[in-house]
Structure formats: structure tokens, C-alpha cells
């Protein structure tokens, strides 16, 4: 709907409303005013009607009054004369006065006269019963002339009456005169003409329904009370005036129909106005429309059209122009502003879009650049990788998680025999060695936690510098990088090492040769011992009926010992082979006898040994080895010997108490000494031989104890030889045949057990078999048979005495004489030799269980040789290791620091009661897995030497000398052990601790407590002796000594 229409509609609406309201008010006022007019008219009209009646009444009243005071009337009343009546108030007198009736009454109310008019010659009938009430009323109201209506048969009649008074009107009435005028149609018509109102007077009429009392009644008159009723229609007012008679009774009704002309007029006016308004409205609307169109709509349309242009040309840069300063103009202006705003926004957006496009291009360009740089970086990386890969060194790096980064130089693959990238560094580098891997891990963590670069470097220097990967030996350098990263640089030094090793080998060869030549005694002892081992010891072991793992352990111990000793002397191939065997033995999980034999492979070992010996024969000639033991004395020793010999030759005494002499002499006998255990173990061969001969089964000999009992074999030679008989006897006589043994529920293989113990310098040797025991009865009989004893004697003998018969010559239970037995000489020899040594022998037998020989021999004092140290094959390998390490380091220390050569040594040990010390002793405890105390006991002269060298350069005050001497030897021990712990650190992953040194002076000893065991090695130097003792709990040193307990 157009705006024009809207506006017009609005206008029309307003106008309509306005007009409506106006018309409404107009109508009301019109109604009011015309109503008023009408009302007045009605009242006026009714008044007129009433007036006419009143007027009639008045005239009648006057007439009456006149008559009332008529003297004639007075007289008549007093004296009625009917002639007078006819003359004066007869029927004829009525008409001119327009009277319908006259009545005269006398004083008493008696009717005197009545005259009425005639209608159509008929007198009016008045005197009816009806008028009686009237007459009564009249008679009572005579004071003054009154009028009123009465109803008679003919209709309503106006009546006036008065009392007849004398002409002066005083006194009492003498009678009543009554006059009447009948409102007949003639008179009514006249009245109508007079009033010009068409009213009706109806008798006894009732008012119709629906009438309402007129608000403004007339004043009461003789006709009525004044009030009248009306009912109206739009055209006519129906008025009704009730007529009352003198008795105030309604007797009739005046009705008047009044046309409402005023009303009609008013209505017409109203309608006219309305019509006028309508036309005006229409006219105004049209005008308004035109005006609007001109002033507003056109401009709006122009506005719209101009906007259309925008759409056509799609541009924001345009302006609307419609002129005018009014609101429309403001709108147009604002619209223009809006257009400008939009335009600028659009421009702005365009710019930002352009900018964004520019940015995108830039990003794309940058991306392209990045790709370029990436390519370049890759290229560079390739070059760097190339460099690294061709460097021949292995580079790898790892970060916090210890996983090796993928950037690894190619050489790593060959070096580590795997692709290290992505694996754990510790695993790759030290996979086979958990100790090293652990250390690696610990050090890396410590370095990470340490901010100081110097300390970091120190820590890194602790990492293993060499890594063995199969055949390849790698040198490893470690560097800490930023970000908790580490780099490892590996260099293949296999060749280098091989050369080095070769050089070493050469050196070793030379050493071997030199050792053979210079330390011949010990050298040959070692050679001899090893030969023995190869020839007898090893095969024996392999043949022995022991469990495979026990065998492996045993062999390992022995081989380890020999390896140490031989390498000490510079043997080349043999120690290497021994090491291989060692490794293989420890490496094999479930060894079997066969596998062990294969690993050990005596033939190979022999070949190697020969190879080493070949070096010597090559260099020193074939005779060298043949000539066997040589004894090399140091110059000093030779000199001393010479001196001693001279003295002896000169007949002078040699001071055998002098320590030097003792030393020398001891040195002489040193070599031959052997461990008793080994000696007895050697009898295994005897057992075997015997067993084979008599077809019996014998288990390998068991020797318990005796590892620490050293003897000079020569001293015991005869005894030992005789001892063979005991063993042979055990097999031949003691142990039963396999069948017999089976029958009695014993093991098929008989067992011979030797037990050795050292008690207060006496050797207790027990040789026991589990055979059938000695048949004492048979023995007794034999003795009698042979003639040694009498019947009586044997009967008298106790079992204990009887058994000693076996020691008698010529006594043998066997009848036949064989190679092995029968001569009866054997055991007798045993007894003899035992007694020769100063010992005793006892025999215990138990029938069916076995026989035991118990020997009690004195221990011949001897000094054991260091070189037999290796025969301590039952020594805990750690103690042995400790001792070897100490000796080695001591040698090195003295030689490098003091240029004091350490040579010769003898060893001793066992369950000694006390350790006799030399002049000054320093003791340090080693903790951790070692748990030993080490005592360095110095001879005074050696202490001097040490003190001199240590305090060289500063002068000690005399009071400090003693303290410093102690400090000096303490320091020696401390330094040596400190170096040893490096060798031993694998024994305890937490490291081996050391206590500060304690110094013991002359006269003090270390006593054996709680079963402590010592092992001592004495070292000799040109400046004095040094005794190195390991003091430990028994368990460390010995395993089987107390097995019988």
C-alpha cells in the first residue's frame, strides 16, 4: 500500500473521527436546544389548552360571581320566584352567556331552580344521582366562587358555584348558585379554533401505556393538578392531561397530539451538516492527495529511482539528491552518509582482501623458500654424513633416554657389528658386561647432574676407554654435548693393539728367556710343575669320577693358578690358551665330562706349552731345558754362600742363627717343598694301578685338608714311598670286589679318603678305606701260622694289639706273593719309616665297614717357596688374586719409586697360631667383597730405606723421626693397596674401601683369633725383607679342613 494511500487513510481516519465527534456533539446540542424548544412548545400548548379551559372557567366564574352577588339572585334565594327565573335565568338567558346550566339552591340546599340549554330541543340532563357527591361538595365549599369540572351524562361540564351573598358580599350565604358549561363538541371545536390546537377532551379515558410524566408540569388549575403525561414518537408528541373533577377524581383526559416539527427540523439540519461534511472530506482528501503527491511522494519516488540506479550500475559511489531541508532531506543526507560509509567499508575490505592475498603469496613464497632450505640442509647433512662415514671413525650420540640417535656414522656398523641407531647405548657398547654397563649408566647420570665442566670431564674420563667387540678392539672417547646429550667417538685400534700385543709378545719372549735365565730355580719349578700337571694331574682329573660341574670348577681353579704363574714368567702361548680354557669353562652352562675334556684338550695345551718352551730352546739351546733345575743365587747370596763356605772350610763356625744365614739356607731348600695334600693326591695313581691289577673298582682318592702343610719331600721321601703300601693294601685287601660290594649294598667303587690336619706342628694323617675291614681272626691265625706269636699270645691279645700284627714282617694274609703284595714287607716298612720320622701309627678297623690308618708325624720346619704358591689350588681364588695383585703392585711400586728391586719370596701360611712380625708392621683393612687385612711387615733396614726416600729433601727434627718412619711405611701400604683395589674392584660393585693404616712396632704380633688364618709371602729386597700377610677369617682360606667336625 502506497504511502500516499496511507497518509490519505490516516487523514480520512482523523477527519472521520473528528467529524464524528463533531457531529455527535452537534446532534446533542441540537437535540438539547430543539428539545428545549419542543418542551417549551409542549408546555405552551398544553398551557394554552389549559388556559382556554381556565379562561372558560374564569368567565364562568365571573358570571357566577356576578349572579352570586345579584341582588335579585339574593332575593330569589330568599324568596324563590319562578317567574323571576324565567325572566332572568331561564333557558334563554343561558345561550348568550354561553352557559349550559344554572342551578340555584337555597340556604338549606334545596334546589330552587335549574335551567339547562337545549340541544336539538332537548334539555341537558343533569340531575342524576351522579351529581349528588358534587352537590354535596359544593354545598360544603361555599365561601368563595369556585370552579371545577363535573361529569355528567353528556360529558364533562365546567361548573362554577358560589354562595349567594348580598351585594356587599358580607354575611353568610343565603343560597348557592351553580352554573355550568358543558364541553360539548361545539364548544370544543371553538376552543380548538381559539387555541389552534387539535386537542381532544375525552371523558373517562384512560391514559395509554408508556406515558411519562412531563418534567415541567403546569401550574395546578381548576382542570387538573397541572401535571400531564406524554409519550413521543419521533414525529409526534402525544400529550395527555388528566382532567379532575371537583372531587379530585379523574374524569377525563385532554389529549393533544403535537407534531414534532422542531425535532424534524433539527434532524434535517443534522443530516444536512453530515452531508456537507462528507463532501468536504472527500474534497479535502483529494486536495491533500494532490498536495502530498507534490510535496512528498514525488521526492520519495525520486529517492527510490535514484537508488535503483545504484542497483543498475553496482556502485556505491553515488549520491542521492532530492532537495529540500525537511526530514526527507535529512534522510537523504543520512542515506548519502550511509552510502559513503558503505563505500569506504567496501574499499577497506577490498584493501584488506588484497593485503591478505599479498600475505598468502608471501607465505607461499616463504614455503617455497623453506623447501629450498630443507633441501639444502639435507644436502649439507648428506655431505656431513659423508664426511663422518668416510672418516673411518664411529660417531654416535644419544640423549636423555640413552637411545642412540639415527645419525650414526657408517663405521659404527662394522665396529659394533650391529646397527646401533635406536638401541640403548649401554646395551650396544657394553651389552656383554653388566658391570661396565652399570658404571656407564652411573657416570652418565652423574655427569648430567653436574654443572661444572671440569668435574664433568673428570667423570667422563672414568668411562671405559676400550671396548672389545669380538675380534675388534675399539677406543672410545666420550664427550658431553648440550641438552644432556653425549657423543661417543669410536676408533678401531685392533691393528694398533695387535701390533702392541705383538711387541708385548716379543717383550714377553724376551722376558721369558730372561726369566728362565735369571730366575732359573723358580722358573724350572714352574715348568716342572706344569709338566707334571699336564702329564698326570690333568688326565687324572679328567678320568676322575666326579660330577661334571665339580670337575669344571676344580679344573678352573688349577688352570687359573697355572695361568697366573706362567704368565708371570713371561710364557706366551700357554697362558693365552689357559685363559681360553678358563673362559670356556666359566662360559659353559651345563658342562659334561666330554665337553670339559674337549674344552681342556690336553693335547692342544701340551702343544702350546711346547711352543713356549720352543722359544727357550731356540734362544738358549736345546740343552737348557734338559739340564733341569738350576739354582740362581743373587750376587749377594752367592757372596754370602761363598763367605759361609769359606768360613766352613776354614773351620770357623757359621752363625746359623743369623737371619741372613737362615735366609740363605732356607732359600736353598725352598724349592723342593711341596704341599702335603698334593703329595697324597699323587697316590691316586698307585690306587688306580692296584685297582686295575686286581680288577676292582676304586674311586679317585679323596684328600681332605693339608693344603697348608708344607713338607720337604726329601725328608719324607722314604715314608712316602712306604705309604704306597698302605694304599695298595687298601685296594688289594681292604676293598672288596664289585660283586661283593654290591651284595653288601655298598657303592661298586671303593673309596679311599685321606685326612690331613696340622695340630701344634704335628701332622695328623688318616688314610681310610671303606672296604671289608681287616679280619682279625684270620690275622691272629696267620700270625700263629707264621710263627710270630703263639696261640696263647694271640688269644691274650686285645683287638687293638692284634691289629698291630699287620705291621710285622713276613705277615700276610695272602697266600700268594704278587708284585703288589704278599711279601708282608710293606706295612712293616710303613711302621719303620713312621717311627724313623718320630711319628706313630695306629690302625682302626671295623668289620664290613673299612680300615683306617692314623699317622701322627712331626712337621719338619721348612720354609715354603713362593713359587709353590700356585699349588694352593684349594685357596679361594680371590685371596690368591688379592695376594698376587699385592705382590705385583708392591714390586712395581718399589721399583718405580725407590728403585728397589723386589726379588725372591717364600710363602707360608695355614692355621698358625700367630703371625710373627718383623721389625715394623703396617696393617690396613680392605672392605667390601674382599674383607681381608693386609699387613706389611718391614725389616728395620727396609724401613730406613723407605723413610730416607720419602723424606728426601726435608730435614726432620729428631723428635719427628719415629713418627715419620711409621708414617712412611703406612704410606707404602696405603699406596700399594690403593692401586690394588683397581684390580679388585670387580669383586664389589660398590667399591672396595680401605681403612687408615695401623702401625705395629717390634715385639708385637698379630694373634690368631676366632680361627683367623694367615697367608704370608715374604719378599726380599736388597735393602731388607718385607713380609706381606693376608689375615682373614678361615672361610676365606680353607674349605675342607673342618669337614670332619
Amino acid at each position: 500500500m502506497g504511502i500516499r494511500l496511507k497518509i490519505l487513510l490516516a487523514f480520512v481516519l482523523c477527519f472521520g473521527v473528528m467529524a464524528g465527534i463533531g457531529l455527535y456533539f452537534l446532534q446533542r446540542s441540537v437535540n438539547e436546544s430543539y428539545g428545549a424548544i419542543e418542551g417549551a412548545e409542549v408546555v405552551a400548548n398544553m398551557g394554552r389548552v389549559e388556559q382556554s379551559l381556565e379562561a372558560s372557567a374564569v368567565s364562568l366564574k365571573n358570571q357566577t360571581k356576578d349572579w352570586a352577588i345579584w341582588n335579585e339572585m339574593y332575593r330569589y334565594a330568599l324568596d324563590p320566584d319562578p317567574n323571576w327565573v324565567v325572566e332572568n335565568i331561564g333557558d334563554d338567558a343561558l345561550a348568550p352567556a354561553d352557559i349550559s346550566m344554572v342551578m340555584v339552591f337555597d340556604l338549606n340546599g334545596r334546589l330552587l331552580n335549574i335551567n339547562t340549554e337545549k340541544t336539538n330541543g332537548v334539555n341537558l340532563k343533569i340531575l342524576t344521582p351522579q351529581i349528588t357527591p358534587y352537590l354535596n361538595h359544593i354545598r360544603s365549599n361555599l365561601r368563595e366562587a369556585q370552579c371545577g369540572i363535573i361529569r355528567i351524562d353528556a360529558g364533562l361540564m365546567l361548573t362554577c358555584w358560589s354562595g349567594i351573598f348580598p351585594s356587599d358580599a358580607t354575611g353568610a350565604p343565603v343560597g348557592t348558585v351553580l352554573m355550568g358549561r358543558l364541553f360539548d363538541s361545539k364548544r370544543l371545536t371553538i376552543m380548538r379554533e381559539q387555541t389552534k390546537l387539535p386537542f381532544e377532551l375525552s371523558v373517562q379515558a384512560q391514559m395509554p401505556g408508556g406515558v411519562q410524566a412531563w418534567p415541567t408540569p403546569l401550574s395546578p388549575g381548576l382542570v387538573g393538578s397541572g401535571g400531564f403525561w406524554a409519550v413521543s414518537t419521533p414525529e409526534v408528541y402525544h400529550l395527555f392531561y388528566p382532567v379532575q373533577d371537583i372531587l379530585k377524581q379523574n374524569v377525563g383526559l385532554i389529549s393533544l397530539d403535537m407534531p414534532r416539527s422542531v425535532q424534524q427540523q433539527g434532524l434535517m439540519l443534522y443530516q444536512q451538516v453530515r452531508r456537507q461534511l462528507g463532501w468536504t472530506a472527500l474534497f479535502m482528501t483529494v486536495v491533500l492527495g494532490l498536495v502530498l503527491d507534490f510535496i512528498l511522494i514525488r521526492r520519495l519516488r525520486r529517492f527510490a529511482k535514484q537508488i535503483d540506479v545504484l542497483e543498475e550500475h553496482s556502485t556505491w559511489k553515488t549520491h542521492i539528491d532530492i532537495g529540500g531541508q525537511d526530514e526527507l532531506g535529512v534522510v537523504a543526507k543520512n542515506f548519502n552518509t550511509l552510502l559513503d560509509l558503505v563505500h569506504s567499508q567496501v574499499e577497506g575490505l577490498r584493501e584488506s582482501v588484497e593485503a591478505k592475498e599479498g600475505a598468502i603469496k608471501l607465505i607461499q613464497a616463504t614455503q617455497a623458500q623453506l623447501i629450498e632450505s630443507e633441501k639444502l640442509a639435507q644436502l649439507r647433512q648428506g655431505r656431513v654424513s659423508n664426511l663422518l662415514d668416510n672418516s673411518g671413525q664411529g660417531f654416535l650420540s644419544f640423549g636423555r633416554d640413552r637411545v642412540i640417535d639415527p645419525e650414526v656414522s657408517r663405521a659404527c656398523q662394522t665396529m659394533l657389528a650391529c646397527s646401533p641407531a635406536g638401541h640403548d647405548a649401554a646395551q650396544v657398547l657394553f651389552g656383554d658386561d653388566p658391570v661396565k654397563a652399570d658404571l656407564f649408566h652411573e657416570i652418565i647420570l652423574a655427569v648430567r647432574a653436574e654443572p661444572d665442566t671440569d668435574i664433568r670431564d673428570s667423570m667422563l674420563s672414568l668411562l671405559p676407554a676400550e671396548i672389545q667387540r669380538g675380534e675388534i678392539l675399539l677406543n672410545a672417547e666420550y664427550k658431553a654435548l648440550e641438552d644432556d646429550r653425549f657423543m661417543v667417538v669410536l676408533t678401531d685400534i685392533t691393528e694398533e693393539r695387535r701390533l702392541h700385543v705383538m711387541l708385548q709378545r716379543e717383550r714377553s719372549r724376551l722376558e721369558l728367556i730372561v726369566a728362565a735365565v735369571s730366575d732359573t730355580r723358580n722358573f724350572f719349578a714352574s715348568v716342572e710343575a706344569f709338566r707334571e700337571f699336564l702329564a698326570r694331574g690333568l688326565p687324572h682329573r679328567l678320568d676322575a669320577d666326579v660330577a661334571a660341574d665339580v670337575l669344571a670348577k676344580t679344573l678352573y681353579r688349577e688352570i687359573h693358578t697355572y695361568k697366573g704363574v706362567l704368565s708371570q714368567f713371561g710364557f706366551i702361548h700357554t697362558p693365552a690358551r689357559l685363559h681360553e680354557i678358563e673362559t670356556q669353562l666359566t662360559g659353559s652352562d651345563r658342562p659334561t665330562r666330554e665337553s670339559i675334556a674337549e674344552i681342556v684338550s690336553p693335547s692342544v695345551l701340551q702343544a702350546r706349552f711346547n711352543a713356549d718352551l720352543a722359544v727357550l730352546t731356540e734362544a738358549l739351546g736345546p740343552d737348557f731345558l734338559e739340564n733341569g733345575e738350576r739354582f740362581v743365587l743373587s750376587g749377594e747370596q752367592a757372596e754370602q754362600l761363598e763367605k759361609m763356605a769359606l768360613k766352613l772350610l776354614q773351620g770357623k763356625a757359621v752363625d746359623s742363627a743369623s737371619p741372613e744365614v737362615r735366609r740363605l739356607l732356607n732359600a736353598m731348600v725352598t724349592l723342593r717343598n711341596m704341599v702335603l695334600k698334593d703329595v697324597l693326591t699323587g697316590f691316586d695313581g698307585v690306587l688306580r694301578q692296584a685297582a686295575r691289577r686286581v680288577e676292582k673298582n676304586v674311586a679317585p682318592i679323596d684328600v681332605v685338608g693339608g693344603e697348608d702343610i708344607w713338607i720337604d719331600p726329601r725328608q719324607y721321601k722314604a715314608f712316602l714311598h712306604a705309604l704306597g703300601h698302605v694304599f695298595r693294601n687298601a685296594v688289594v685287601h681292604g676293598i672288596e670286589s664289585p660283586d661283593e660290594r654290591r651284595a653288601t649294598g655298598k657303592n661298586e667303587a671303593g673309596k679311599v679318603v685321606c685326612r690331613l690336619a696340622l695340630e701344634k706342628n704335628r701332622i695328623r694323617l688318616s688314610i681310610a678305606d671303606d672296604g671289608a675291614g681287616i679280619d682279625l681272626d684270620a690275622l691272629r691265625q696267620r700270625a700263629v701260622a707264621v710263627g710270630i706269636c703263639t696261640d696263647d699270645d694271640v688269644r691274650r691279645m686285645s683287638d687293638g694289639e692284634a691289629i698291630r700284627l699287620i705291621f710285622r714282617d713276613k705277615l700276610s694274609v695272602r697266600d700268594t706273593v704278587t708284585e703288589l703284595s704278599g711279601r708282608g714287607v710293606g706295612l712293616a716298612a710303613v711302621l719303620a719309616e713312621t717311627q724313623k720320622l718320630g711319628g706313630e701309627v695306629e690302625v682302626i678297623t671295623s668289620s664290613g665297614k673299612g680300615t683306617e690308618f692314623l699317622f701322627d708325624l712331626p712337621l719338619q720346619q721348612c720354609a715354603a717357596s713362593e713359587v709353590l704358591f700356585f699349588r694352593h689350588h684349594r685357596l679361594n681364588k680371590d685371596a690368591g688374586l688379592v695376594m698376587r695383585s699385592i705382590i705385583g703392585k708392591t714390586r712395581a711400586y718399589f721399583e718405580s719409586e725407590y728403585q728397589i728391586e723386589v726379588a725372591d719370596a717364600y710363602a707360608g701360611g695355614g692355621a698358625l697360631e700367630s703371625l710373627n712380625l718383623l721389625d715394623m708392621t703396617a696393617v690396613i683393612g680392605l672392605g667390601g667383597g674382599v674383607d681381608l687385612r693386609v699387613a706389611f711387615s718391614f725389616q728395620e733396614s727396609l724401613v730406613d730405606a723407605v723413610y730416607e726416600r720419602m723424606t728426601a729433601g726435608f730435614n726432620d727434627a729428631p723428635e719427628d723421626v719415629g713418627k715419620h718412619r711409621e708414617a712412611a711405611i703406612g704410606e707404602v701400604l696405603n699406596t700399594v693397596l690403593g692401586h690394588c683395589t683397581i684390580d679388585l674392584q670387580h669383586l664389589d660393585r660398590h667399591g672396595i674401601s680401605m681403612t687408615p693404616p695401623i702401625i705395629l712396632g717390634r715385639g708385637q704380633a698379630i694373634l690368631s683369633e676366632n680361627g683367623a688364618v694367615f697367608h704370608t709371602q715374604e719378599l726380599n729386597t736388597p735393602r731388607g725383607r718385607l713380609a706381606i700377610s693376608l689375615v682373614g677369617s678361615r672361610e676365606i682360606f680353607v674349605t675342607n679342613l673342618d669337614s670332619t667336625k
Partner: protein, 159 residues
């Protein structure tokens, strides 16, 4: 008194070694301000004289060197402590380094090695000395003595 004389605390339970080290320090040109014979003494001595560097033995009675190092370092994080000991095990060295030692010399030691290790551990202090020496030298040489004294007082306080 030379300005570059490092102040040294020598800790060892062996009087001979202590003596030797003191002599060595003199030779090098350092100044031994105090000696101690066990870990506890070492801690007290450090507190008292606040040396530039400490030579510490490991095996000592009462309190061992590693523990003493740890305690001193906790109280004085800048302490320069060098272990001079016969304990060669890598485990021990690592423990000492972890406890805060800056260097490690194995007995028997060469003076040169000791010197190297100490110099390395104390390079900060040494550099400071060298720097102040140089500065003073660059100032009017005629006033060398005066400024030398003044600077030594200052650096003495700074230590």
C-alpha cells in the same frame, strides 16, 4: 707476598705426605695456610681459613675424605677440592667427583700433575688474580707497589 699465591689447605693423615705436599706447594709458589690430619679437622680448618684450594686424602680416621668433601661443598659450594689419594678405583673417583671434588691425583704423585690438577680446579681464582695483577700493572707502574697492596687487600676481602 705475591698476589698470585693460592692459599692451600693440605689434608692427609700421613705426616710425611703432608710435609711433602707442603714442600711441593712452596716449590710451585702456593701458600699452605693450614694442614689437617682427618676429615673433621679438615672441615674446621676450612671454616677457619677459607682457602682457595684443598688437597684431600680419602682414607683418614674419624671422617674420610669423601664425606668431608661433601660436607665442605654443602656449606661452601664454591670450594675447590682436589683429591690426592692412592685409591684408584673408578667407583671411588666417581664418588669423589659426585661429592664435589674438582680433580683427582693418584699417589704416588708427580709435582707437575698436582700442579696441573690444582690449576685446573682453581682456574677461576687464578684468572681473577691474573686479571687484577694485569690491571694493576696497566695502571701507573710507579704506583705499582701502592696499588698492588690496595688490590691485594681488595681481592683478599673478595676471597
Amino acid at each position: 707476598m705475591e698476589m698470585s699465591a693460592l692459599r692451600v689447605l693440605v689434608v692427609d693423615d700421613n705426616p710425611i705426605i703432608t710435609r711433602k705436599l707442603c714442600m711441593m706447594m712452596d716449590q710451585i709458589g702456593y701458600r699452605v695456610v693450614m694442614t689437617a690430619a682427618d676429615g673433621k679437622e679438615a672441615i674446621l680448618a676450612y671454616k677457619e681459613c677459607l682457602p682457595d684450594v684443598v688437597t684431600m686424602d680419602i682414607t683418614m680416621p674419624v671422617l674420610d675424605g669423601i664425606e668431608a668433601t661433601r660436607i665442605i661443598k654443602r656449606a661452601y659450594p664454591d670450594a675447590n677440592i682436589v683429591m690426592v689419594t692412592s685409591h684408584g678405583q673408578e667407583k671411588m673417583v666417581l664418588d669423589a667427583l659426585k661429592a664435589g671434588a674438582k680433580g683427582y691425583v693418584l699417589k704416588p704423585f708427580q709435582p707437575q700433575k698436582v700442579f696441573e690438577v690444582i690449576e685446573k680446579a682453581c682456574k677461576r681464582v687464578v684468572l681473577q688474580d691474573k686479571l687484577s695483577a694485569k690491571l694493576d700493572h696497566d695502571h701507573a707502574p710507579s704506583e705499582a707497589t701502592e696499588s698492588a697492596d690496595a688490590a691485594s687487600d681488595a681481592s683478599g676481602e673478595a676471597r
